[in-house]
Symmetry: C2
């Protein structure tokens, strides 16, 4: 670790040495971390940090609901970690039920989403998180497990604040929280971390303002400002159960935003500005975009043989993410027909069964070693939905993309990549073999996509320290110093009126108006006096 106190030269007293020794000894012996993860793709990259922490000698305990089936990308605590399974009152089916129809919805709707779809999505999100809130309640009421956790003496809680359990546990155990996330719905992460996000140039998602690299137009800014206002209302609905759970369990009137604001010692943000547009940051926000681009591992023998044999034309990596593993037959046909007309081989994450006439050069797999495949020198193109993990794997391996966004943050992610000239877009709502072929051929044959991707990749990879090392460093920092108090802005102690200086501005305005009013009165009084004098004089005359 860099830094470190130059010991023998300091001439410290015994008390000071004791304090310093405890600090360093604690760090050397390893700390105790409680990990409260979120299942699915969220876990994919947090897993790497958890593995590294265990490898560095920390005691790592991962809290996992019994429903998790352990198949990728679900929880499988890395070697060296302890897993604490806790019973929950819902089944995996309940959970899947809340989301399952998202994909049908996208594939069968056949048109771009409207306001009603956005509303349906919020409802779905609330239904999904509500099931998890139930799970969290089971955990918090599990007296035996909670007792064990309380006695655990954890130095930090590592969690994804997408679900509320980690932050509530951190508060209960009085341990500093390290948050690991890409972002939260409604920009709750920025609001909680007190991070300014001027609506004039920090585009919200779903506004379409990420499609243009230049500053937003008036209309875009208008839509963006309206979205900021709308978000405030949506957030109340989206986080209502989180607020209620936190208030009930902690027996104090607290919103989820306040809770994560005061508990979050460090926010490990899974983005950087090779991906997102530059925007203000807070000192305790640490950018670890690309943390999931680990060193590529060797491929399985049959897969290695398949991609090695793809010749000069190379191969395409195709996935629509962890939530989509099947698609309707007609859409499958669209893709297969397009693949027939290009010389590249295709490796496709697909759990359905392909029709018998599917070309042999298309290989389907239930789970792709995506990063390892993209790191292969013959990987020519990445056909993807635009999830943030895949995007970073594309960027760090410098593979240009054809993107078909489905839902959530994906349309904006795709806008960001397309505006950088490293990807082409196809719409899932009107995709045809011709349109898909056009996009594939454009990215495969127009060298500008590859060139721009190489440049973007160079910028992304040119950093003083690797994102995983940074994540490890700051988690350990929080353990060593029992938080990161020196990075906590005083803004946390202000209410909204105070924060926006509305009280001081009104007070200053009142003073200014009083002075102006008095000055005006004085002038009027003087003018009248003078006027009267003149009139009296004239009368006398």
């Amino acid at each position: 670790m860099a830094g470190g106190v130059r010991g023998p030269q300091l001439g410290l007293g015994p008390v000071v040495w004791l304090c310093l020794a405890t600090l360093l000894l604690g760090a050397a012996l390893g700390g105790k971390v409680l990990v409260v993860p979120v299942d699915g793709s969220h876990w994919l990259s947090m897993r790497l940090l958890v593995r590294e922490l265990a490898a560095r000698g920390h005691d790592v305990v991962v809290l996992v609901p019994e429903t998790s089936d352990g198949s990728p990308p679900s929880f499988r605590a890395p070697a060296g970690c302890e897993t604490e399974l806790y019973p929950v009152s819902y089944t995996q089916k309940d959970l899947d039920g809340t989301l399952g129809n998202i994909t049908d919805d996208v594939f069968l709707r056949g048109r771009a989403p409207g306001v009603a779809d956005a509303y349906a999505n919020v409802r779905r999100l609330v239904a999904f998180t509500s099931v998890h809130v139930t799970g969290c309640e089971s955990l918090l009421r599990n007296g035996e497990l909670m007792g064990r956790l309380r006695r655990g003496g954890y130095d930090a809680v590592l969690t994804d604040p997408f679900l509320p359990c980690g932050a509530i546990l951190a508060e209960t155990l009085d341990a500093p929280a390290v948050f690991f996330l890409r972002g939260l719905p409604c920009g709750l992460d920025e609001a909680a971390a007190q991070c300014p996000a001027p609506p004039s140039y920090v585009p919200r998602f779903y506004v379409g303002a990420n499609a243009d690299a230049a500053a937003m137009t008036f209309t875009q800014r208008l839509r963006n400002a309206a979205m900021y206002a709308a978000d405030a209302a949506i957030c109340r609905v989206a986080y209502a159960r989180f607020d209620a759970l936190a208030s009930a369990y902690l027996e104090t009137d607290v919103t989820y935003q306040e809770l994560i604001g005061r508990r979050g010692a460090v926010w490990l943000m899974r983005y950087d500005f090779a991906f997102l547009r530059p925007k203000p940051q807070m000192p305790n926000m640490v950018l670890i975009g690309g943390v999931n681009c680990a060193e590529p591992a060797p491929l399985a023998a049959d897969l290695q043989e398949f991609v090695d044999g793809s010749g000069d034309d190379g191969f395409i990596v195709f996935t629509l993410g962890s939530m989509v593993d099947k698609m309707p037959a007609d859409l499958t046909k669209v893709f297969l027909d397009a693949f027939r007309k290009i010389p590249q081989r295709v490796v496709w994450r697909y759990t359905g069964i392909l029709p018998d006439d599917a070309p042999e050069k298309v290989k389907t797999m239930k789970w792709l070693p995506q990063n390892d495949l993209l790191a292969h020198p013959k990987a020519k193109l990445f056909l993807t939905h635009g999830g943030s993990h895949g995007i970073y794997e594309g960027i760090c391996n410098a593979v240009p993309m054809v993107m078909m966004p489905l839902f959530g943050d994906q349309p904006d992610n795709v806008d960001l990549m397309v505006s950088r000239g490293v990807a082409a877009r196809v719409s899932v709502f009107d995709v045809t073999t011709e349109k898909l072929l056009e996009a594939l051929n454009k990215v495969l044959n127009d060298t500008s996509y590859k060139e721009k991707m190489v440049k973007l990749s160079a910028v992304h990879l040119d950093r003083p320290i690797k994102p995983l090392d940074l994540a490890v460093f700051w988690t350990e920092f929080v353990m060593r110093h029992k938080g990161a108090d020196h990075l906590r802005p005083a803004a946390h102690d202000l209410n909204l009126i105070q924060y926006h200086s509305l009280d001081t501005i009104c007070f200053l305005a009142a003073i200014l108006m009083t002075i102006s009013f008095l000055a005006l009165k004085c002038c009027l009084f003087c003018t009248r006096k003078c006027g009267m004098r003149v009139t009296v004089k004239k009368k006398k005359e």
Copy 2:
């Protein structure tokens, strides 16, 4: 260097390889940096970066006005750098004349500064920078030198934007600028970098709001808001000559703020949050606080002997900064009398002659190896004015302080340290031997000062990468990528009204008001209709 593109695995086309090779070759061969420094203490830490760049094989050219006498802390370009001397029309005496009376003013005033003094200080600052503007004009009109610079093919201009010449040169040479600074008067650095600084919790200097670690009170926020407003006016005066010079030379209507905003690829900020209160940052602001705490060098033999011989009581390091090397006889007596009554030896930066009865244990020197002395295990206390360099040397060596702020940012720097419990303050305006002794004894004997300083030092030094390495990395990044465009926020393309969303808010408000008005009209109309019908009905009845 971390990162780096994983070459052979990428499977790139020839064009891409060529582009990548040029990039890496350029970096390997070393770039060309033009350094436009600011004399005095500003140069002390920038020098370390310049030396490191030269050591890493870059061509470094340092532009120095002929007046600089080369004595510390004045310019002495480090080994391996080329120095370009340019003639200027002012003399060192002209320059000293603009500032010389600051110290007299502080020592002889005998009371805390008032509004008139603040005004005098702004005038003095303007006079000082005006002389430099004249020097810059000499440089820019020096056809021969400018021709040479234009042909130089510089990859970056490294400069302190406290003076305007570096930024104007960067614009002229069309090279990205790397700014190296602690901050700019009136918060121009934040304004130019588009960094939000909410007046409700980011304290301006001279407001007294840094004295308290908690959130500001209403009165403090009021004063702070007023200072933000006042700064806007002061800045117009303070930077008027910079604006004029930039506009005249670049033949375009540009303010200095706009110029440094668009030219600054990276801002290397000489602070961190072990010193300042946490506040928002922009992605191209890199914190390198403590960059001046280099590895301590061995002391000169006589000095080593003097401090080694200080016994268990150790010694005190005493300096009032590079601008103050003498003081009035009565003040000197106050200090000497206090030093007589404590057992510590004293090493004092002082160019005057001490009275004959000065104790032998007080050693005066014209220039102190401050960091090397503070790193000595027997350094017990740092008696200082509170300049940012000294503060960081105190922090990184964990030496608690007694501070006597004189002018500029020093009173606020001292407030910050005192509020952290690592320093005691004495006022230069009413210092007596008793008051000084009380402060010295408090810090020497109350172990809490040392303990808190050790903790603060541990937090400051616990970082993933050393500040100098970070400064080198980002300077080289700018050279490698011809800037840092991916970190440039779109806010630069908005005017003040757009930035603050005043146009969109007004538009949305107008729509809301129109709808409300129409709704009200409709209601009134309906009510009237109903009312009329009721009246007609009643009449009929």
